[in-house]
């Protein structure tokens, strides 16, 4: 789960990492916006709080010289849409003038797996192209040791004493909040020291970490009917823009199916991973859910049987179609593996064409 910037900021502040002063304006705060911003010193930075990357290029990070200007920008952002998200919060910050923009992040990864600590002198928007970042692997059993901090300080050209509390705070936050990514970009070098003026955090949803409860609640408020229903059944569902719902068993297979649809010129409208061992009832629920999406006009079901029995899948599909009718929806099913023949017989008995290969099924649904 990607956290909103202000959520990440709260975590950083809890660990004593210097951040600029800011206020948060929610959709219900429109009246108080001027009052809130007045507590800050101009000039301002107004930032839409969205989970997606790339808000800067989309005009969702803007500067303002006065309270009125900041409020006007914020009102314009609230309720607008970016990458499928509605903007529900706007952060107005005091603008910090950096001498240099640095980059520091920590993320889980590496082989053997550890916490990867990245540091670069070229922070800001250019970091991804800059290269030359220092990459240190922090072993979970060693922890963030003083010598690693000193290497980062040397690389960034800052005193170890100034970066140490920031790195130590980030490292503790990463563990305490089950974060898989925590990024300060830029970490501004200012006259008054280092200030984390923008930040990103991603938390592990599987962690069961009670400290994430507030963030998860806020995230779930944003979920549409589709994702709520999918969660209830234990499906992974991602809404897309096109008209082809792609239903598969297994994340990799369903992604590959999505790619095959796009490759053939189709436009995927839904990603729906049934998970392993789906019984008829769950398959039925999945198909009904897909059919309920207003943008969905075609459905491609791709099943490689293993734990999942193709006959169970077939039964579920037949029942869903019986219930929904699905007039005007084009359905193609590919069955392979465990109980494939039986499954195909069931489908054909209900007048549904079942294919043995993914390519045939894709042609059927896209063509």
């Amino acid at each position: 789960m990607i956290l909103l910037e202000f959520e990440a900021k709260r975590i950083l502040e809890e660990y004593g990492i210097p951040c600029e002063k800011s206020v948060l304006i929610g959709e219900g705060d429109a009246d108080r916006a001027g009052e809130l911003v007045s507590s800050l010193r101009p000039p301002y930075v107004v930032k839409a709080q969205v989970r997606a990357w790339g808000r800067g290029r989309a005009g969702l990070v803007r500067f303002a010289g006065s309270v009125d200007e900041a409020v006007s920008i914020a009102r314009g952002m609230l309720g607008s849409s970016f990458a499928g998200e509605r903007v529900r919060y706007v952060m107005v910050s005091e603008r910090v003038r950096p001498l240099r923009e640095l980059y520091v992040s920590m993320m889980l990864g590496g082989s053997p797996p550890g916490v990867l600590l990245l540091a670069s002198e070229a922070g800001g928007a250019g970091v991804e192209e800059a290269g030359g970042a220092l990459v240190l692997r922090v072993d979970p059993h060693a922890g963030l040791r003083g010598y690693a901090v000193r290497r980062v300080a040397k690389h960034l050209g800052v005193p170890a004493e100034s970066i140490a509390p920031i790195l130590e705070g980030m490292y503790r936050a990463l563990w305490d909040y089950s974060l898989t990514l925590l990024e300060l970009n830029p970490l501004a070098e200012t006259e008054g020291g280092l200030v984390a003026v923008d930040r990103k955090a991603v938390a592990d949803e599987d962690s069961g970490n009670p400290r994430l409860a507030e963030f998860i609640a806020r995230y779930e408020e944003e979920l549409g009917e589709l994702q709520r229903e999918a969660r209830r059944w234990g499906f992974a569902a991602v809404p897309l823009e096109g008209d082809v719902a792609v239903v598969g068993n297994g994340a990799g297979l369903t992604m590959a199916t999505l790619d095959a649809v796009a490759e053939a010129g189709g436009r995927p409208g839904l990603f729906l991973d049934l998970g392993g061992g789906a019984a008829a009832e769950r398959v039925k629920a999945a198909l009904l859910l897909a059919l309920r999406q207003p943008n969905v006009r075609r459905v491609l079901v791709n099943i490689v049987g293993g734990i999942t029995r193709c006959d169970e899948v077939a039964r579920g599909l037949v029942e869903a179609l019986r219930e929904a009718g699905a007039p005007g929806v084009r359905l193609a099913v590919r069955l392979s593996g465990f109980m494939e023949e039986e499954g195909r017989r069931i489908l054909e008995g209900a007048g549904i064409r079942a294919f043995a290969t993914l390519e045939e099924a894709v042609r059927e649904v896209v063509g």
């Binding site: 990458a83 990864g109 089950s178 994340a251 992604m255 490759e263 392993g276 490689v304 293993g306």
Partner: protein
Amino acid sequence: MAILVDERTRVLVQGITGRQGQLHTELMLRYGTKVVAGVAPGRGGSRVHGVPVYDSVAEAVEEHPEVNASVVFVPARFAPDAVYEAVDAGLPLIVVITEGVPAHETLKMVAYARGRGAVVVGPNSPGVISPGRCKVGIMPGELFKPGRIGVVSRSGTLTYEVAARLAAAGLGVSTAVGIGGDLVTGLSFWDAYQLFNLDEETDAVVLVGEIGGTKEEEFARMYARGRGKPVVAYIAGRTAPPGRRMGHAGAVAFGATGTYESKVRALEGAGVPVAGGLGELPQLVKRALEEAG
């Protein structure tokens, strides 16, 4: 030979009395895997499909010192405990099927296992299969034909799909390893590749990746330094939107990290051909085999 599992593998099933544990114990036995013991706390003394059940790994290993691999089916909450128990009992290979283990827990348990010389495959792995010899996991054995191609994958059903396509093209598999769909896993692509490199029965390796994380990039970096047997890759998720978790906990791209483009660029830069679609994969493998002579 194959890698990780073969005729000599003697398997302990942790969580053998659960629904998944029971089912796959039966399926593994049917495949020919030597499942010799199971563990379920408080259920010691019972049997599952004829396999004796013990309260602890220590007790199981004392009675069955031949055990040299464990497969973990216990729920996510208890899975790390099961792994530590298996490591402490000295087992050299631990295959974790369980999905939903917290990433930070995995990080610690993998570091622990590595420090004691144990290999953890997974979590969220479909297992390891050396076709015709041994299956430690949940994959449908009949889709895997014996042969000389190593497969290493982050995915389950996609691996079966790939194996089936290889088989259809006359290419069998020496061993297929599902490293798991989580962000953090024990065995890496590179670890598996190094094992394949030492395996006399493997001629080439198929790497099945997907978006999210940096596992493919890390493999590419290592491969560029010192490549061995030919590798051909397929990456799922080319058309997945950024910032969305595509089923697997590890399958999310953020910003420039974990994108399809980043992975393909890294792999191709290191000299690994990447198939544009699944259909191309068998041809690419054949071409790589021809080029390697």
